[in-house]
């Protein structure tokens, strides 16, 4: 298989397989979680589970308690990484073109300079978070193999994407192939690792908020 053929496979069949594993795997995982069920409380509620559950799903993204210096670092770097990642994913013109081909609709792209800044900040935040994970005693104690694996799987698409835009290191075909391959690895890994938090977080928040709402606790 020559490089052109490989790229052709990777961006065609390869991507379809990865996307299918992602969609089916995540659907299965989320259903599996929710279907484990929970006992309905027989106590008399003081407030609404649904209303407060939905509120916490949204609110927990913004309202955080008082934090120590290490907590602040985690939150700020975490925000920069997630926002930078989402901006490059959804607002780079090449990504929108690809998504338009699948979804049959698109949206305006952000200027390349904005994407560049978002990508650089996101990459820098990820590196900072990795270093922090290693040197901070709390995070080091909590971390296991999966934490580092998922870091690498998330980092590679950002890195190869940035190299591709700036033509760093390898030729266009090689970089594009590597970039798409890294995306496919990430897509495949999401349902089987803690990367599944991209969806389960919102379910967690609902359960937490529902329990508080039921008791009439207003945080």
């Amino acid at each position: 298989m020559n490089p052109q053929d490989l790229l052709y496979w990777v961006r065609g069949t390869g991507l379809q397989i990865a996307a299918a594993i992602f969609v089916l795997g995540m659907s299965y995982r989320m259903l599996h979680l929710v279907l484990l069920g929970r006992k309905k409380s027989l106590a008399i509620p003081r407030g609404s589970e649904w209303a407060y559950g939905l509120r916490i799903m949204w609110q927990r993204s913004f309202v955080l308690p008082e934090l120590s210096a290490r907590g602040k670092f985690t939150v700020v770097a975490g925000y920069i990484f997630h926002l930078g990642f989402l901006i490059t994913l959804f607002f780079l013109s090449q990504h929108i073109d690809m998504l338009r081909a699948i979804l049959k609709f698109g949206w305006p792209a952000l200027p390349r300079s904005v994407i560049d800044i978002a990508a650089i900040l996101s990459i820098a935040a990820m590196i900072a978070l990795l270093v922090h994970r290693i040197i901070d005693p709390v995070k080091r104690l909590l971390s296991d193999f999966q934490d580092y694996l998922t870091w690498a799987l998330t980092f590679l698409p950002l890195l190869t994407g940035f190299m591709l835009l700036r033509s760093i290191g390898f030729g266009y075909t090689t970089l594009l192939t590597l970039h798409i391959l890294s995306v496919e690895l990430l897509l495949i890994a999401i349902p089987f690792t803690k990367l599944a938090h991209m969806f389960s977080t919102f379910v967690s928040r609902w359960y937490n908020g529902a329990s508080a709402g039921f008791r009439g606790v207003k945080a």
Binding site: G37, R60, L64, P65, V138, K139, L141, T201, N208
Partner: protein, 420 residues
């Protein structure tokens, strides 16, 4: 079956949709550490709330996830051992008061204290619960009270109250509206509560009673994490209340009694009650708003209110004690973090019954000390008799000369004469 397997099975049984979702969502960010007084006051990473659940997490991963099963197949997973559960016992019991601050802090929304409560079910089943808490639970089951008080003790308080107030204290009165339940500590140490509620209910014209076979609300079963024992203790109150056909059971000034009676109770016995549960402070505030609770005179002392965790974060009772305090305390001031984010006294969740945990509990009282130092008060009012004892103990260790009083007694001291 050995105790390890029994413990592991019990933990597997506890894994429901919320627990599986919480572990799936945890990204090991460590933010929960800052919310836990055992971490903030020691800076020891092992006190990070989510780390206290590590054995349960691995059981979840190995039993419920593709990744965990794959790792087990490859021989790369680490099964949970008895030695590990033994090592985790102090983390799950001594350094967690079930205060629930971590559940408010988690950015992915994990209700961490819900998980600790569930993990304790497995710890008890595996035989790894603190001796002090085991003893308290055994006394509660065998003698009727974790502190070993009995009906005779209560009867003595009732007689004293009747002599002191000239009012009769109703016992086993069928058809009363309310049944008052007390905490173990109230009967053992703070018996003024009997006279306080007797006088308040007389003034407000509340139809009430106590039950000779269900007068104690303290529930060590909840704290040790045994639903079976918790149900046994709770069902005494339920049987008494339903025998006397009361409309309401009044939860005493005791945080975990409130959680047991109000929120866990019907689930423990597997059916709804034939009555409702109301906290004494909720009831007093209701009487206040109806104009039935009237006070006279003011206490000019500079005082603050310590929110018991189970009343605010886990109970939703925040405004009521403040409404009552404003009736009698013009110099009432709030501590930093008061209300929903208040810091635990350090002795909730069974920690106070666990002698082994005492040095750690005293150490982390520095958080409460800092809160108090920031406002410089003379009196701390609270609405949990366990908090009250823990506060007194912590103040003593820190040579702090402050009064600690129960809110119901404070109100009773300022009660206006009953209208004729």
């Amino acid at each position: 079956m050995n105790t390890l397997q029994r413990g592991i099975n019990a933990m597997i049984e506890q894994i429901d949709a919320p627990i599986a979702t919480f572990f799936t969502s945890c990204v090991h960010c460590g933010l929960c550490a800052d919310s836990c007084l055992f971490y903030t006051e020691t800076q020891d990473p092992k006190f990070t709330p989510i780390y206290k659940l590590e054995p349960l997490r691995r059981i979840w991963q190995q039993e419920y996830t593709f990744w965990g099963k794959l790792m087990s197949q490859l021989g790369l997973s680490k099964p949970v051992t008895d030695a590990e559960l033994a090592a985790w016992e102090p983390l799950v019991y001594d350094s967690c008061t079930l205060c629930g601050r971590c559940s408010l802090a988690c950015p992915v929304g994990n209700d961490i204290v819900y998980m600790v409560r569930k993990m304790r079910e497995g710890m008890v089943a595996s035989g790894h619960a603190p001796e002090g808490l085991k003893g308290a639970t055994q006394r509660a089951i065998g003698l009727g009270s974790p502190m070993g008080v009995n009906l005779n003790t209560l009867m003595a308080h009732i007689h004293n109250t009747e002599k002191e107030t000239g009012l009769s204290v109703p016992l086993d009165k069928e058809g009363a509206d309310y049944m008052m339940v007390l905490s173990s500590a109230e009967i053992a140490e703070y018996s003024e509560i009997v006279s306080a509620v007797t006088r308040i209910f007389h003034q407000a014209g509340v139809s009430w009673t106590m039950a000779s076979d269900g007068f104690e609300g303290t529930n060590s079963g909840i704290q040790i994490g045994s639903s079976d024992l918790a149900a046994e203790l709770l069902s005494r109150v339920v049987r008494a209340a339903e025998r006397l056909k009361v409309k309401y059971v009044i939860s005493p000034e005791c945080g975990h009694a409130y959680t047991a009676l109000r929120w866990e109770g019907p689930n423990l016995i597997g059916r709804p009650y034939h009555f409702e549960v109301i906290h004494i402070i909720e009831l007093l505030d209701q009487l206040r708003s109806e104009g039935r609770l009237r006070t006279e005179g003011l206490d000019e002392t500079r005082m603050t209110f310590h929110d018991p965790c189970q009343m605010v974060r886990r109970g939703g009772v925040v405004e009521q004690p403040r409404n009552l305090l404003h009736m009698v305390a013009p110099n009432f001031v709030e501590m930093p973090d008061a209300g929903i984010q208040n810091w635990c006294c350090g002795g909730g969740g069974g920690v106070s019954a666990n002698e082994r945990a005492e040095p750690l509990r005293i150490k982390v009282f520095s958080r409460k000390k800092a809160q108090l130092d920031a406002i410089g008060v003379d009196t701390i009012v609270t609405s949990c008799s366990n908090c009250r004892t823990m506060l007194l103990d912590g103040l003593e260790h820190n040579s702090m000369n402050l009064n600690v009083v129960g809110l119901t007694e404070l109100i009773a001291e300022h009660l206006a004469p009953a209208s004729k």
